[in-house]
């Protein structure tokens, strides 16, 4: 009976905390704005939830790491690395490239440079080279036409072919028939071309795979080189940042709107479709992952070992637990979750920016800690972590609504993190 009541309390406490924060902002909002109050509206709550879905997913991974007694400072940058990779995969139409050896944008660029070369040679009047260049340019145009033809076939074979895109492609093919037609650097038709269907799947695989690989790297460094997690992930943080910058060529990766599949956008749509879902699909993804994580932590042997490891690593070793394997798995799973979160993250921004995730790791850690997780390991709950992420989201949104400046919001968030931990400590010392 007491045990049952205790577990009920454990469920109720985080929910009550989120409720209290929401209630606070709602009341202040009504007090300030009266009938125009918008904080307690379906749309605002929907938008808060969708804005923080990716934070929640990353925080679930961080929770696992923190329970195991570790820390992952590279999670924020890994998130932007993964989303940059996804953006790159979409922009480069990787499925098409994989099948044809090059993509349309590349073929256009090459055809244009062959054309430019030919024009330059004509100006200097070098007859022998002109013949060669003419042939090269013609070949480039032919190749581009072939690729366009393949794309056109793909477009026609779609369930609902887009008439606009078809005419664009056809027009471009026809233009290329004329060897004297100029080739634009960034033709309008190219921007309206969608990707091969396989591209998004390959992109997602690369994105999630990169996340898992980042985690695996962290795990291996920590286990094999015996570097403490704080330092190991501090190091990989800048390594991942550098890698993301290489992928993005030191700018940001922006696929065209036509390249991004509509369903990907739905992950971050404020209004879900169908509307009976209430919240966006990205939020549902986070909730499903949360349930899976809760089951993993509570009912799996692995979950038991993670708690053992975080609570006392020496005991784990004494009990014959394969400590290195558990650690590597923990970091890899956390990385995998970062990879999944990166999909939602990309869906929000529609571009991949290598530095967009910098500093976010502190938010993930804060979510776990507000939710009662202990940085010394062995303690933390999924529900608490979700509540932590929600509280931060509500404060950010509510603060904006009330006209609090960004600096004020930062200060409030910092105070809340410290308060949460202090209250938790107090409660624990009273229990003892």
């Amino acid at each position: 009976m007491i045990v049952w009541l205790k577990s009920l309390m454990n469920v109720a406490r985080p929910l009550a905390a989120v409720g209290a924060v929401i209630a606070f902002f709602t009341l202040v909002d009504i007090y300030l704005h009266g009938g125009d109050a918008t904080f307690w509206s379906k749309q605002n709550l929907q938008s808060i939830s969708v804005q923080n879905a990716f934070v929640a997913i990353c925080a679930l991974g961080m929770l696992l790491v923190i329970i195991a007694g570790g820390i992952d400072l590279s999670a924020g940058v890994a998130l932007s690395l993964c989303s940059t990779i996804l953006a790159w995969g979409i922009r480069e139409d990787v499925g098409f490239t994989f099948a044809q050896g090059e993509n349309l944008a590349g073929a256009v660029a090459r055809a244009k440079s062959a054309d430019d070369m030919l024009r330059d040679l004509k100006a200097t009047n070098n007859s022998q080279d002109i013949a060669q260049a003419e042939q090269a340019a013609a070949e480039r145009r032919k190749r581009l036409r072939e690729l366009l033809q393949i794309k056109l076939t793909q477009l026609e074979s779609m369930d609902t072919p887009n008439q606009n895109q078809l005419t664009h492609a056809q027009q471009a093919i026809d233009d290329l028939q004329n060897p004297n037609s100029p080739i634009a650097a960034d033709p309008v038709w190219l921007r309206s071309m969608p990707n091969s269907p396989s591209s998004i799947w390959l992109g997602l695989l690369m994105c999630v795979g990169a996340g898992a690989l980042c985690g695996l790297t962290n795990g291996l460094l920590i286990v094999l080189l015996k570097v403490v997690p704080f330092i190991a992930t501090l190091g990989t943080m800048t390594v991942f940042l550098g890698m993301a910058m290489i992928v993005a060529d030191e700018t940001s990766v922006r696929p065209s709107a036509a390249q991004i599949p509509a369903w990907l956008g739905e992950l971050s749509a404020v209004r879900p479709d169908p509307s009976w879902l209430l919240v966006s699909k990205g939020v549902w993804l986070a909730l499903i992952l949360a349930v899976l994580m809760a089951c993993l932590l509570r009912y799996s042997v692995f979950g038991r070992y993670v708690f053992a490891l975080g609570s006392n690593e020496s005991t784990a070793r004494l009990c014959g637990i394969n400590v290195p394997l558990v650690k590597i798995t923990v970091y890899t799973l956390a990385g995998l979750l970062v990879g999944i979160a990166a999909v939602c993250f990309f869906a929000r921004l529609n571009s991949g920016n290598p530095t967009s995730g910098t500093g976010l790791e502190l938010k993930f850690i804060a979510a776990v800690v507000i939710g009662g997780g202990s940085l010394s390991g062995g303690r933390g709950t999924v529900l608490g972590t979700l509540a932590g992420a929600a509280i931060m989201g509500v404060i950010a949104s509510g603060g904006t609504l009330l006209g609090l400046s960004n600096p004020t919001q930062y200060i409030a968030l910092g105070v809340i993190v410290i308060m949460a931990v202090a209250v938790d400590q107090l409660r624990r010392s009273q229990n003892n």
Binding site: Y299, V301, F307, T315, A316, G320
Partner: protein, 497 residues
Amino acid sequence: MDSDLLKMEAVCKRFGATHALRDVELTARSGEVLALIGENGAGKSTLMKVLSGAHRPDSGRMTLLGKPYAPHDAHEARLAGVAMIYQELNLALDLSVEDNILLGQERRKFGLLDRDAGRRIAQQALARLGHGELDPRTMTGTLSVGMQQIVEIARALASQAKVLILDEPTSSLARHDVANLFTVIRKLREDGMAIIYISHFLEEIRRICDRFTILRDGRTVGSGTVADTSDAQIISLMAGRNMQELYPQVPHSMGETILSVEGLSGRWRPRNVTFELRRGEILGIAGLVGAGRTELLRSLFALDNVRSGEIRIGQLLPAAAPRFRIRAGLGMVSEDRKREGLAQERSIADNVTYSHLSPYTRVGFVNLRRRDDVVQNWIHRMSIKCIGPDQAVTELSGGTQQKVALARVLHQEADVLLLDEPTRGIDVGTKAEIYGLMGELAAAGKAIIFVSSYLTELLAVCDTLGVMSRGRLVAIRPTADWTEEAVLTCAVSEEAA
């Protein structure tokens, strides 16, 4: 009597519901060494903390030199003339001997450090201890543990201590350091100092102490002159029961060999250890701190790296990782329950089953209800006092925690139990239960290696007793062939080895 320096009368101290001290009476006289004897948990450390000002007594009277004595902290106690030397020495190892001796009582001249005066005081203190040859400028970290202890005592002298309290001072000393320390203690006694010597080594107490006071469950249960009291009397006063009750004997006999160890050497310790263990055998391992007893167990369990040697369990030669040793039938109870033995924040159920979850596991997931039912059985069988399988281990008493640790190795169905100080820091009743359990396990055909620093229990419980010194297993023979003296001689025989 005017030779009474420090007097405690009816001192009580409670922590919540537990009476750590109840009506404690103690008198330390000038020119006398008083032995303070008691099992672990008898209240010795609380008593020390009360004397040093770390805890305030709830009631009772303390007088020093006839004046009321109620220090608020260690510094005040020291100024009043009560100095305490703990097992873990309190020295800044990166400072010189002189700086350590004067720490907190530096001599000043015009607001600056007066080094000359300081050095004189340090030298005087060392000379009084018969160690005038030690250069006060030596780095403390470069000294042996024995010399570091002397430095701490010199610090006590420099602060004009009248009462010196030594907490198990020989527990980490080599033999010549022990002799040296005893010479120093005798010198101080002649100088009229009152010395309180805390220990449970009866042999040492006979060598150095004049009178004794025995604590049990926070009470003073006896005091007298050492010379007029027999060992058996002291032991039964300490334990509160006679030897028969304390060491219940369960008849058991030895079967076939289950563990054979050949030439086992670790990185540092153990060194070239060879022995065999048979089913139904309780093998005790005695030795000084640092002799390599714990390291022997850790090497057997593959917690420490092994340089050479062969470990055969039954017919198996298991690979070097704890999980393979567990599968081969070894089980280990660590000497340090807090830092290694148990995951303190986790539940009893978790701690009992961590090493053997497979019976409740299907495709990687644990059937928690089935597991808790089994753990409930163990709680019953071992009479573990708790609310239920879900209670966190940290909420349990030391003795109960030890039972959880034991339940784990029994639950994993280990054939060979490696028990490292299994009775350290637990109450006498639980100790007796554990001794009885060891007998029952031996009768059921299990083999036990029992490492302990408490010789009395080894001699009472074990079938065979081995003595380690400097990493070597110097001698191993049936317990009946050993005497306490022979063991101690063997344990300090490092010069011979």
